[in-house]
């Protein structure tokens, strides 16, 4: 059989070794010179403020233990937990909705398809304030949902100024980006894989579970991580909806401007940054692709 035939694995990665030899000794120096401007900018606008922030967090009366006491504050802890829960919920719902919608849009072509896809990217262009404004118009005191429920005799349903409103706004804001990611990944799926699974007797749901989702996994993880990070840090929407919503960016804002509790604000900021960064790092290592924080 084909054991006698030259039949080597298709993907062999030759070990790449950097060329070494005379004439390359000046290389590190030149590299350092080239990197210097970038390093300066990085230090001035990223490293220095971050270090300063971390120091301020420890600069209060309690010193470094302020990081612990800040968290021990029931209000702060509550704010952190509800922000985590909100972001996780937003991520889960966004992924579910976007995966279904993205797959549908890739698999089905109908009149107006291109226009719909173009429209879907629209929320990406809005700042958080506008998203908040739209949530109010939908679910606020004069909102569409309230008007309809009132007309139906069920009393006026208003939920814009709460976690529910924020949830709606974040999902609305996150869906376009995730749908676009899912669509890009779904277009690259090999339809033969699904046909092979079906020929082996797999029902449609099994094909989704065994073939489609595993193939979309890297895209879903990176899109989900971005969605989570964005939700953790979003401020504009929350600020527009109500200043009393208990999410971490809001708490930081309150501590900073209203209570002038600068050390606590700094400590919470560092914490928020750490959690978001960790989420992205985990996603990056699981998905094996580069995931950048945004928003």
């Amino acid at each position: 059989m084909s054991a006698c035939v030259q039949d080597r694995p298709l993907s062999h990665r030759p070990a790449v070794r950097p060329p070494a030899g005379p004439g390359r000794t000046g290389e590190p120096l030149r590299l350092a010179a080239l990197l210097a401007p970038a390093a300066a900018v990085f230090a001035a606008f990223f490293l220095l403020p971050l270090v300063r922030l971390i120091l301020i967090g420890a600069g209060g009366a309690e010193g470094w233990s302020a990081y612990l006491t800040t968290l021990a504050d029931p209000g702060h802890l509550d704010s952190l937990l509800s922000t985590l829960a909100l972001s996780a919920g937003v991520t889960a719902v966004t992924l579910a909705v976007s995966t279904v919608a993205g797959l549908f849009l890739v698999r089905n072509h109908f009149p107006g398809h291109a226009l719909l896809v173009a429209l879907l990217t629209f929320p990406l262009a809005f700042p958080g304030v506008v998203i908040g404004f739209m949530v109010i118009m939908l679910a606020g005191r004069q909102g569409l949902i309230g008007t309809i429920t009132q007309a139906l005799g069920g009393g006026k349903l208003v939920f814009a100024y709460s976690m529910a409103g924020l949830f709606l706004g974040y999902v609305y804001f996150s869906i376009p980006r995730v749908i676009l990611t899912v669509m890009a990944a779904a277009e690259k799926l090999d339809p033969r894989l699904e046909e092979a699974a079906r020929s082996l007797g797999a029902a449609p749901w099994r094909v989704v579970a065994d073939v489609i989702l595993p193939a979309l996994k890297p895209a879903l993880i990176s899109a989900g991580a971005l969605c989570f990070a964005t939700s953790m840090g979003a401020f504009g929407t929350a600020f527009t909806l109500a200043t009393r919503i208990n999410v971490l960016p809001m708490t930081i804002y309150t501590e900073f401007t209203l209570q002038a509790n600068i050390a606590a604000a700094a400590a919470l900021s560092v914490l928020l940054g750490l959690i978001t960064w960790a989420a992205l790092a985990v996603a990056r290592s699981v998905a094996g692709t580069s995931v950048a924080a945004a928003g």
Binding site: R192, R198, A202
Partner: protein, 349 residues
């Protein structure tokens, strides 16, 4: 081959199976075909002639146009989706699940069928051994060569004991040497299993080697159905003749039981008038000036080892391809005479 691998030989019947795709493109004219149980049938034709479409209709991946029916044995499966037809499929692109190992790929169909774990493991192992893949069981797919991948795909399709094995250009993605060895392997497998198999290819060599019968297709129609010998020696029309092997064309004139080709006159039965005749290179023989029928000049000579293929230009008419002995010293510019055996001449419509 162990007995447990012998599969049921289910005949397949296509009745008036046509296919018109959305947008009105007619990919397949209504087709009637019976595939005998245990037979290997090869769909052969140029790209775009409807081979894959026919295969997908049998598989249940495409519905035939209304009125068409697909029967597996006595069962009408036209309305059944592919997942309920119990067919094995092998694709040009292998289509192995990249998130599963070799063994998991092969086990997939058994898992879907809820075969108990122990039974599953035993059958997967047997199948991997049969395909000489035992040592690769734990490998990831991207650690396999193309030939190994296609063997995994065959194992995955066969382990569930499908009613029919459908192969769509399974060797096309492989390089020539590997193609030959895997073709032999597939041949051995199909004979050994006794399974009904439908094999799609555009390569006439593969078709001749593997097919019990060949369905030659052109532009969505069946041009001819027959054994490799029938297709080769009695092509139904000029298209089939040209598509399979090398065919020479000779112009002749039939009159009163004789046929004139060039200066030669041969015995012939057929209606009077001009006829176009087809003849295979191996049915033209080099001869001397005295007993030759046609004179010509060698325009090219290609040494192929076992024979030398000559292109001979006669005084008039198209160039003829003729096989001479391997040791023939004939070359460009030499004058030769060819003999035609009238029994080997084909007059095709």
């Amino acid at each position: 081959m162990p007995d447990s691998f012998h599969l049921d030989a289910v005949p397949i019947r296509l009745e008036r199976c046509g296919k018109t795709f959305a947008g009105g493109a007619r990919a397949l004219e209504p087709l009637d075909l019976t595939i005998r149980g245990g037979e290997t049938i090869v769909f052969l034709g140029p790209s775009g002639c409807g081979k894959t479409t026919t295969l997908r209709i049998i598989a249940g991946l495409e519905n035939p146009d209304p009125g068409g029916r697909v029967l597996f044995g006595e069962e009408d499966v036209t309305a059944l989706p592919i997942e309920r037809r119990n067919v094995g499929m092998v694709f040009q692109s292998y289509a192995l699940f990249p998130n599963m190992t070799v063994a998991e790929n092969v086990a997939y169909g058994l898992k879907v069928r809820k075969i108990a774990r122990a039974d599953r493991a035993r059958r997967v192992e047997e199948m991997l051994d049969l395909m000489h893949l035992g040592e690769f069981a734990g490998r990831r797919i991207d650690q396999l060569s193309g030939g190994q991948r296609q063997r995994v795909a065959l194992a995955r399709a066969l382990v569930v004991r499908p009613r029919v094995l459908l192969l769509d250009e399974p060797l096309t993605a492989l390089d020539a040497k590997l193609r030959d060895s895997l073709r032999l392997e597939i041949d051995r497998l199909l004979r050994g299993l006794g399974i009904t198999a439908v094999y799609v290819t555009h390569d006439q060599g593969e078709a001749m080697a593997l097919g019990d019968r060949i369905v030659v297709m052109a532009k969505g129609r069946v041009a001819q159905v027959g054994t490799p010998r029938e297709i080769y020696y009695q092509p139904a029309d000029g298209f089939v003749a040209d598509f399979i092997g090398t065919m020479n064309r000779l112009g002749g004139m039939s009159r009163g039981g004789t046929l004139s080709i060039g200066a030669a006159t041969l015995p012939w039965t057929g209606p009077d008038g001009a006829v176009e005749l087809l003849v295979r290179p191996e049915d033209l023989a080099l001869a001397g000036e005295a007993d030759g029928h046609l004179a010509g000049t060698v325009a090219a000579a290609v040494f192929l080892g076992d024979r030398t293929r000559l292109v001979v230009e006669p005084a008039d008419g198209p160039a003829l391809t003729v096989d001479a002995a391997g040791r023939s010293e004939l070359g460009r510019g030499d004058r030769v005479w060819l003999r035609v055996d009238p029994a080997r001449l084909l007059a095709v419509p």
